[in-house]
């Protein structure tokens, strides 16, 4: 009888260990620090990197030979403690004091980056919120978190977003199931093109209309900008890890 109890205990211990390992694999580690992942329409996880190729069009819609690559990455995660203090996540000792995690969503062109969090604020509006701006030497939190990308949502959902310059943008979900191609770049891959199902967001600010294709595994996949109904920018995800 004792032997059976012992065996059961061992099996339960093994199962619990496996469960712990599963939890561990869902995090990103750096120097022994485990960073939690937050699923969203932008995959909020430490160490994520994506590259988009940007093409510029002139005011008559003809493509400009100039193009560039925008690299977006999350290389810092901050802990928001008791709604009052922000410290790097890896310096956090008491994780129970963390209200939420802020992911430093930066790119290789801008001097500043946004601190993002997936949240539900107000009348339970779920989505990606911008909490503040980070520069090389400072972090400035907004008075109120700003809803950036509503997720999940429905076609026709609209909301407003106020930029740093206090200009208002109208946001709208155009589609929640938009097919977008992602070329398999130089991979030994049987399928030359991958089809991604995306949320298509539209942002209107005066004469400027932007379209964002977001996929919950890759984040920003495609991007189109129209100015006075003329295509001025196109961008496509070319690499992600």
């Amino acid at each position: 009888m004792n032997r059976i109890i012992f065996l059961i205990t061992v099996i339960i211990t093994v199962l619990i260990s496996c469960g712990s390992m599963d939890a561990l694999t869902s995090t990103d580690t750096e120097d022994g620090i485990q960073y939690p992942r937050v699923p969203s329409i932008i995959p909020l996880r430490y160490g994520s990197n994506s590259t988009l190729k940007y093409n510029l069009f002139d005011d008559s819609g003809i493509i400009n030979s100039t193009n560039f690559y925008l690299k977006i990455s999350i290389n810092n995660v901050f802990a928001f403690l008791n709604d009052s203090a922000i410290i790097p996540y890896h310096d956090t000792i008491n994780t129970s004091a963390i209200n939420k995690l802020l992911f430093d969503y930066s790119d290789n062109i801008s001097d500043t980056s946004f601190l993002l969090s997936y949240d539900s604020i107000g009348s339970n509006v779920d989505g990606v919120y911008r909490y503040g701006i980070k520069s090389s030497d400072s972090i400035n939190l907004f008075n109120e978190p700003k809803l950036w990308l509503k997720y999940p949502g429905q076609k026709g959902d609209v909301w407003q977003y106020t930029a740093i310059d206090n200009k208002l943008s109208e946001f709208e979900i155009i589609s929640v199931n938009e097919s977008v191609t992602m070329p398999s770049s130089n991979n030994r891959y049987t399928q030359p093109v991958e089809i991604l199902q995306c949320y298509l967001y539209k942002s209107t600010k005066n004469a400027l209309v932007e379209y964002f294709y977001y996929n919950n595994n890759y984040g920003l996949v495609g991007y189109l900008v129209y100015e006075n109904d003329i295509l001025r920018v196109s961008a496509k995800l070319t690499d992600y890890y």
Binding site: K53, N55, I63, N67, I174, S175, E178, S179, T181, P183, S184, S185, N186, N187, R188, Y189, T190, Q191, P192, V193, I195, L200, K202, V209, Y211, G222, L224, Y226, D229, L231, S234, A235, K236, T238
Partner: protein, 567 residues
């Protein structure tokens, strides 16, 4: 009709035994020339003749001189050496034997020639009243292991060979080849002549073999053995002028106390094999008389096949033993062993077979798989049409090991390469004003098939089907599909290339029929038709999906067959 056989019968009236001093010169030369292949069994010929002369034909071993692969000078020297030892006594006998290549004017001894005119001159000068000359060679020849040169009238039939007291036996008639046999591991004529002297030719049953009996036996057996040979039928001949010499007794078994006696009730084909499965005797016994076969000491298996019933008996001759075998002592067996006519079952022919041909492949499942692979791009109006040809050309090389009973095993390797490509234009639409921008996908597929085939087959030996073989086996194609994709989007100015390799292994049972025509003993040209069965659907493994692939169906090959050895 002036039949030579009748002539012998008429002239050899007396059955008198003339045993005086008997001298033998046995010459063999296996060397070929640029146009003549080396001979394989010349040494066996000499050894067999020497053994039977000493055991059955009253030749003192000291008087048997063998010269193997020697020069004409050495042959001349030995002839001169024994010349004084032979008297003109009617009882003295000279036995001259030659196995090797010859042409119209000379014995071919490697790079040297020994002129026949000179040989005749020396032999003529030897005083013996009875000279028996045996030539296992011919004037015709070719690239095979046939023992001759250009086709011409046989030198032995020249009128000036008709010398009194001289018998000439030769192994083949004009324009015929004298052949060696892998079955007997000897020259065919020599094998049967030796068998005759063992007692097989004793038609009268008096335990003696006369020159007439030996010739008739060797003639009949040589013709029978070469009816289906690649070298053509071979008719031995003779030339003699021994009027008044009596019936020359070549072999006398009365003093030989080692051998077997086949009872008069035993009929049909008889084969005597030693423990190494070498064939010692191979005869057809027709008459209801006893037959003695002289054998050395040792263990032997005697096989009998009569009216499609095979049987065997084992005998152990320990010296001075004569086993009298009755039909009742033979035990039935299922069939005569495969080595019963030609030696060990271990003997094989190894062939190399370059081949080229095509397979008719049903590519519909592969086409459908490829179509499905790219169907997800339909909403971008991309639908590449990738077609592989239904005939797949293949080159290969194979090998066959053929055993004497016609069974062979084969191992082949083949390679084929097929390719296709397609470029398709589609479009993507902007959300703002539904403007269409071109999208293109270019696909290049290269299908490599490396395959190994192995199996077992049977070559028919019968007249009507002798050029045909059938075989069954397993084909294992290893298929690799290399795909290169080029994708471009004009709206986003994206241009990418991707590459993939997919592999799959199929296992297909196959049956095939082979026709091949031998142009020589080493080269055959033929064709094979094969059908293989695709028993289950097989797929090419890949990262994200699989392609169904079918290789069953009909194929045909042209094959060149080079036999490297035939032993």
């Amino acid at each position: 009709m002036k039949s030579p056989i009748k002539y012998i019968i008429i002239t050899l009236i007396l059955v008198s035994q003339i045993f005086g001093a008997r001298h033998a010169i046995l010459i063999g030369n296996s060397s070929g020339t640029r146009n003549l292949a080396n001979l394989k069994y010349v040494k066996n010929d000499i050894n067999a003749v020497k053994e039977i002369l000493s055991s059955n034909c009253s030749f003192n071993e000291q008087n048997i001189h063998t010269l193997y692969n020697k020069t004409p000078l050495e042959v001349k020297s030995i002839l001169q050496k024994i010349k004084p030892k032979i008297s003109s006594s009617e009882k003295d006998l000279l036995f001259f034997y030659y196995s090797g290549h010859a042409d119209n004017n000379s014995l071919i001894m490697g790079m040297d020639r020994y002129p026949l005119s000179e040989l005749k001159k020396i032999i003529k000068s030897i005083p013996s009243n009875m000279k028996i000359l045996v030539f296992d060679a011919c004037q015709s020849g070719s690239f095979a292991r046939l023992k001759g040169g250009s086709i011409d009238s046989p030198f032995l039939l020249h009128e000036d060979n008709n010398i009194e007291g001289q018998v000439v036996l030769y192994s083949s008639s004009a324009s015929e080849y004298s052949q060696e046999s892998d079955y007997y591991r000897q020259s065919i004529f020599s094998f049967h002549l030796v068998n005759a002297l063992k007692g097989c030719a004793d038609a009268s049953g008096d335990m003696q073999v006369t020159l007439n009996e030996a010739y008739q036996y060797a003639y009949g057996q040589t013709v029978a053995s070469t009816i289906n040979s690649a070298g053509g039928i071979q008719h031995p001949g003779y030339l003699l002028n021994i009027q008044g010499k009596g019936n020359v007794v070549l072999a006398d078994m009365r003093s030989n106390h080692n051998g077997i006696v086949l009872d008069k009730e035993i009929k049909g084909s008889i084969a005597v094999l030693d423990p190494a499965k070498n064939i010692i005797s191979d005869i057809i016994k027709k008459d209801s008389t006893e037959m003695f076969i002289a054998l050395n000491s040792g263990k032997f298996t005697v096989y009998n096949n009569y009216e499609n019933r095979a049987s065997k008996v084992k005998v152990n001759l320990t010296g001075n033993t004569i086993h009298h075998l009755k039909g009742s002592q033979f035990k039935s067996i299922r069939s005569m062993p495969v080595y019963s006519k030609g030696g060990s079952g271990k003997k094989i022919k190894l062939s190399v077979i370059p081949q080229f041909g095509f397979s008719l492949i049903d590519n519909s499942s592969l086409q459908n798989s490829l179509k499905n692979r790219y169907s997800y791009l339909k909403e971008f109006n991309i639908s590449p049409n990738l077609q592989f040809k239904e005939e797949q050309w293949q080159a290969g090389i194979g090998s066959e090991l053929e055993f004497l009973n016609g069974i062979f095993i084969y191992l082949n390797y083949g390679y084929s390469k097929e390719s296709n490509n397609a470029e398709t234009q589609g479009s993507t639409t902007t959300p703002h004003d539904s403007t269409e921008f071109p999208v293109s996908l270019k696909i290049e597929n290269i299908l490599h098939t490396n395959e190994i085939n192995f199996g077992i087959g049977y070559s028919f030996k019968h007249n009507a089907l002798k050029f045909f073989s059938v075989a069954t086996g397993i084909d294992i194609p290893i298929v690799k599909l290399n795909t290169n994709s080029f994708y471009t989007e004009s709206l986003y100015q994206i241009s990418t290339k991707s590459e993939s390799d997919e592999k799959g292994v199929l296992i297909l049972p196959s049956i095939k029929a082979i026709f091949e025509y031998p142009f020589s003993s080493i080269f055959s040209l033929g064709t094979s038709v094969k059908y293989r069965f695709q028993l289950s659907t097989s797929g090419l493994l890949s990262q994200d999906d699989s392609l169904e692939y079918n290789l069953g169906g009909l194929s045909a090959m042209i094959r060149l067959k080079f036999t490297l050895n035939d032993r």
